[in-house]
Structure formats: structure tokens, C-alpha cells
């Protein structure tokens, strides 16, 4: 019965995988698309409930130490499932409007979600690799969804080539770490390590692979192109769920596999990358006229802020990163969602910020929602983005990385320009020509309103259904964790 017990700790991913198969068969047999959509949403809601249960459950490892459950892993699962659910909810109307509403899209999303959960709960380099690739291969397909258009195929090609290239580095890193330690299990690797050059080289290559996936700066070239060419609601999926899963995996690797090894300068390396990521991401975002590209560069900048928390390397830092990921998931899906709504209107090209003139008075609810999400992304109180930035930068200061925090705050200040620019166009410019916007569908609208409520609620009062969210996250990294398990 061990097997059933193990499965019980891995239920959200199991549900996603099973639902993916069901949805795939349904689309083969030409079941109505709304049924497929319903099955997808239902399975994700069930998975979400199980993920919430695991959040307060015991901490440990299952499947012969391949996957972790509880603690950081459970929160990662929750983030991924939440992000996926909201992306699916906002996808239907948009994909219908661009005539690419196929059942296979949902199957791919569910399979990618399985991979993301596997990645976020990995406790072994093999699981890390398999989860990452399951996710990536499905995302390559989704990136090329609009394959009849040159931009769609181009974004898929760029994503695929650079993604596969980075996989090579990641895998070589895994091979060298395995060679240096004789194991692929995080705990065994920590126990066995004497710092050999082989291990150093392996860790460096592993981190390079990770930096590609989270689009940290020297490895960010694919991000804007892919985000621009992909259907907007799926871009939201790329930008949030996949990034959240990769960051959680990175936290697990940093905290479980390479914690505080003397004489290893990973903190410095990550600090440098964080600084150039924050500066370059924000700087290039300033000059973007295309809203999706602007959000792509902003997501690069956010990866920089997240790396600040990782560079701190303390319990506070990891907690801050997890909280930031939650905030980022909520507000970024919201922002992409409203942009997807505008794009459904064929009157003008609503990826160009100049065409946002006067939009604020056409559909006031949508404009207010977009304003809330952008304010939150800019880190303005009282929204969740502010609190998340506060936790991350405070952790950096406490760990003695003053420079990182200073650069972070300054670049945040610069970022306010390009977020507010959209709002200036919406509210203070006259439209070039007369047009009417379509009405948003009910599911679409309420999904965005829920996201908006989360954005405001967690900015004002960061309380989870059972106790403070930040305390819950901190407990993963202190001795008083839910099951008293030492370490994360």
C-alpha cells in the first residue's frame, strides 16, 4: 500500500495528468469544446482543493525520495494550479475570438501543469529534469498555436531552439553533479559534497540552465519575442505558472542541494545576475510601445527582484520569494487578461499602447482592473505587489545585501513610468477614432475580478484562510515547521 500512500502525496499532478488524457481523448472524438473546457476547469478546481489540503499537511518525501510533499513543494503546487486555473478561465473567450479554440490546447495546458508540479516538488535531479522537460515541450507547442502567422511560428521556433539549447546545459550540469557525488538525490548530494571542481562546474551549468528558463538577463533574449508571438492568455501562463514552478525548483535546489557550502560564490554570482536583470529589464521596458513586449521586459525585471530574495539565501529570502511568486502570479495573469480582452476587439491593434487612448471610459470596469494590476506590478501600496517587494528587499537588507536592495528600489521607481504610461493613455488621451468594445463574458470578467480582489486583499491584510500566509511560509524554513522537519 506504500504506492497508494505515495500517490496520495502527489494527487494534484495525478489529477492534472489524468484530466489531460481525458481531454485529449475528448478532443479526438470531437466532444463539444465547452464540455472540454468544463472538464478542464473542474479537474483544476479539484486539484486546487487537494493542493490547499497539502499546504497544511505533513512534510516529507515520497516515491523513493524522488518528490517532496508539504512545505515549499506544496506551496509551489498551489501556485502552479492557481495560475493554470485562472489562465484557463480567461483563455476561452480569447481563443474563440482568434479562432484557435481547440480541445488540444487544454490537453497541452494540463500536461504542462503536470510537468510544472513535478518540477515544483522535485527532490531529485532526475525528477527536476523530467518535470522541466514535460513542461517545456508542452509550452513549445502552445507557443506555436497561431502557426499560420509568421510571428506565431517564429516565437515557437525561438522558444524551442533556445529552450532545447538551455536543456543541454542543464543536463550537462546534472551529469557533472552526478559524477562528482554519485547520486542525484538532493539530500545525498548535500551529504556527500566535498567541493570538487567537477561539482562546481556542474552547479554552474545547472544554474545557467535555470537562468535560461527564468529569463535572467544574459539569457533573456527569447522572452520578449516568445511573449509577443504567443496568444496573450497563454503568454500569461508562460509568464506566471511556468516561472513560478521553475523558481520553486530553484529554491529547492538552492536550499536543499547547495546550502551554504563554504567557499562557493553562488551568492555573488546570483547577486550580479539579479542586478543586471533588474536594470536591463526595466530599462528596455521603458521604450516599448507594444504592451505585450513591455510586460515581457517587466517579467524579466520581476525575475531580477525574485533573484534578490534568492541571493539573500536566508529563510526570510526564500519566504519573500514564495510570497512574491504568489503576488506575481495573481497580478500578472490579471494584467495579461485585461490586455487579452482588449485584443479581442478587432477595431484597432490593441497591442500598441498608442491605441489605448480613451479606453478608460469605454469599459470602465476593465480599465479599473487593468489599473489595479499595473499599480500592483509597479509595487505601489496598498496592493500585493508592494508587500511582496517589501518582503524580498527587507530579506536582502537583513542578509547584508544593501546594494541589491538599493538597486531594486531604484529600478522599481523607474518601472512606475512604463506602467503608468498605459494608464495615462487610457484616461488622459483622446481616442483617434470612434469604436465600441465588445462586452466581456461572465466567466472571464469574474475570474479577473477574483484576481483583483486577491491583489487588493493580500496587499492590505496578508492572511490566509488559516493564519498568516507569511508565517505559514516562514514556518517551512524554521525548526518549527508543520511536521517539525529540520530545514526546508
Amino acid at each position: 500500500m506504500d504506492y497508494l500512500y505515495d500517490l496520495n502525496t502527489f494527487i494534484p499532478a495525478t489529477i492534472a495528468a489524468a484530466a489531460g488524457l481525458v481531454v485529449l481523448m475528448q478532443s479526438v472524438y470531437k466532444v463539444k469544446i465547452n464540455t472540454i473546457f468544463g472538464v478542464t476547469v473542474f479537474s483544476l478546481v479539484v486539484a486546487l482543493l487537494f493542493a490547499l489540503r497539502d499546504l497544511f499537511g505533513p512534510v516529507g518525501t515520497s516515491f523513493y525520495d524522488m518528490v517532496a510533499y508539504g512545505g515549499t513543494a506544496a506551496f509551489g503546487t498551489l501556485l502552479v494550479i492557481t495560475g493554470t486555473l485562472f489562465c484557463v478561465l480567461i483563455s476561452r473567450d480569447y481563443l474563440e475570438a482568434i479562432d484557435h479554440h481547440y480541445g488540444e490546447v487544454y490537453a497541452m495546458i494540463l500536461f504542462a501543469t503536470t510537468g510544472m508540479v513535478g518540477l515544483a516538488v522535485s527532490n531529485d535531479l532526475i525528477m527536476l529534469f523530467v518535470g522541466l522537460e514535460t513542461m517545456s515541450i508542452c509550452l513549445y507547442v502552445l507557443a506555436g498555436l497561431i502557426k499560420e502567422e509568421k510571428t506565431g511560428a517564429e516565437s515557437a521556433l525561438k522558444y524551442f531552439l533556445l529552450g532545447a539549447f538551455s536543456t543541454g546545459f542543464l543536463l550537462y550540469g546534472i551529469a557533472l553533479i552526478y559524477g562528482a557525488t554519485g547520486s542525484t538525490n538532493y539530500a545525498d548530494i548535500t551529504a556527500l559534497t566535498d567541493i570538487s571542481p567537477l561539482f562546481m562546474a556542474g552547479s554552474a551549468l545547472l544554474l545557467v540552465g535555470f537562468f535560461f528558463k527564468i529569463s535572467a538577463v544574459p539569457f533573456h533574449m527569447w522572452t520578449p519575442d516568445v511573449y509577443q508571438g504567443t496568444p496573450t492568455t497563454l503568454t500569461a501562463y508562460f509568464a506566471t505558472a511556468s516561472k513560478a514552478a521553475t523558481f520553486v525548483a530553484l529554491i529547492l535546489v538552492m536550499s536543499r542541494m547547495m546550502p551554504e557550502i563554504e567557499g562557493v560564490g553562488w551568492t555573488q554570482a546570483i547577486s550580479v545576475i539579479a542586478i543586471i536583470t533588474m536594470i536591463l529589464g526595466n530599462l528596455i521596458a521603458l521604450v516599448q510601445d507594444n504592451v505585450k513586449r513591455m510586460l515581457a521586459y517587466s517579467s524579466i525585471a520581476h525575475a531580477g527582484y525574485l533573484l534578490v530574495g534568492l541571493a539573500a539565501g536566508t529563510a526570510d529570502g526564500y519566504t519573500g520569494v514564495l510570497y512574491y511568486l504568489f503576488a506575481y502570479t495573481v497580478m500578472n495573469i490579471g494584467a495579461f487578461g485585461v490586455i487579452a480582452f482588449y485584443e479581442r476587439n478587432q477595431a484597432l491593434d490593441f497591442t500598441d499602447v498608442n491605441n489605448y487612448a480613451g479606453l478608460g471610459y469605454k469599459q470602465p470596469v476593465m480599465a479599473v482592473l487593468l489599473s489595479v494590476f499595473l499599480f500592483s506590478l509597479a509595487g505601489i501600496p496598498p496592493f500585493v505587489g508592494f508587500l511582496a517587494k517589501y518582503y524580498v528587499f527587507a530579506a536582502a537588507v537583513n542578509a547584508g545585501h544593501i546594494t541589491l536592495a538599493v538597486v531594486g528600489v531604484l529600478t522599481t521607481a523607474a518601472s512606475v513610468y512604463y506602467y503608468l504610461r498605459v494608464m495615462v493613455f487610457m484616461y488622459f488621451r483622446e481616442p483617434h477614432k470612434e469604436f465600441d468594445l465588445v462586452n466581456p463574458g461572465a466567466i472571464f470578467k469574474y475570474a479577473l475580478i477574483v484576481l483583483c480582489v486577491l491583489t487588493v486583499y493580500y496587499g492590505v491584510e496578508p492572511v490566509f484562510p488559516m493564519g498568516s500566509l507569511i508565517e505559514l511560509l516562514t514556518s517551512y524554513y524554521t525548526e518549527t515547521g508543520p511536521a517539525g522537519m529540520a530545514g526546508p
Binding site: L125, I126, F129, V130, E133, I137, Y140, V141, G144, K147, E148, E149, K150, T151, A153, E154, S155, A156, L157, K158, F160, L161, A164, F165, T167, G168, L171, Y172, I174, A175, L176, Y178, G179, G182, S183, T184, P224, D225, Q228, G229, I284, R293
Partner: protein
């Protein structure tokens, strides 16, 4: 008896050839082949290390890598086909609509 060093050197050389190929070649299919070369050079390392440690884990990972490489080739060729239908060319320097 050939020592592990030789296998690792072969693997490193093949990996570097793969990386250079990805960076300098312009034909998308050749780039795909170079990526496969990178993955397979890692397989050589993994098997050498597994044999060196007398541990089966590395060889198991090789099977996963093979499966992933196959899936990646399928998706990659499909994407390259879509590019060819649009551009009538798979020269990646001509795939340049999206920039900055």
C-alpha cells in the same frame, strides 16, 4: 582498460561541438541536430559516471534523456515545418520579424 577520463573528454568535446554548432549554423535542422548532439554527449558522460560509481541511476537517467530527446525532435521538426510553410526557408536569419 580505457579510463573514465577518455569518456569524459570525448563527451566534453562533443558537447562543445554541439554548442558551437548551435551558435554558428543558420539552418534550423542542423541546429536541431547540434542540440541532439549536446544531449547525446551528456549521455556518454552519464553512462561513464554510472559505470565509474557502479551505480545504476545514471543509466536510468539516460533513458529519460532519450525519451525527452525524441519528444523534442518531434516538436522541433513540426515547428520547423510550420516555419518552412510560412517562409519557404528554414534559414533562421530570415526569421526576424520579432526584435527588440
Amino acid at each position: 582498460m580505457i579510463g573514465i577520463d577518455w569518456y569524459l573528454a570525448l563527451s566534453a568535446v562533443l558537447f562543445i561541438i554541439g554548442v558551437i554548432g548551435v551558435l554558428i549554423r543558420r539552418n534550423a535542422i542542423v541546429i536541431l541536430m547540434c542540440v541532439e548532439l549536446m544531449l547525446n554527449s551528456v549521455n556518454i558522460s552519464l553512462i561513464a559516471f554510472a559505470s565509474h560509481h557502479g551505480d545504476i541511476t545514471g543509466q536510468v537517467l539516460v533513458f529519460f534523456v532519450l525519451a525527452v530527446a525524441a519528444a523534442e525532435a518531434v516538436i522541433g521538426l513540426a515547428i520547423i515545418l510550420a516555419i518552412f510553410r510560412n517562409n519557404l526557408s528554414i534559414d533562421i536569419t530570415k526569421v526576424n520579424l520579432l526584435r527588440w
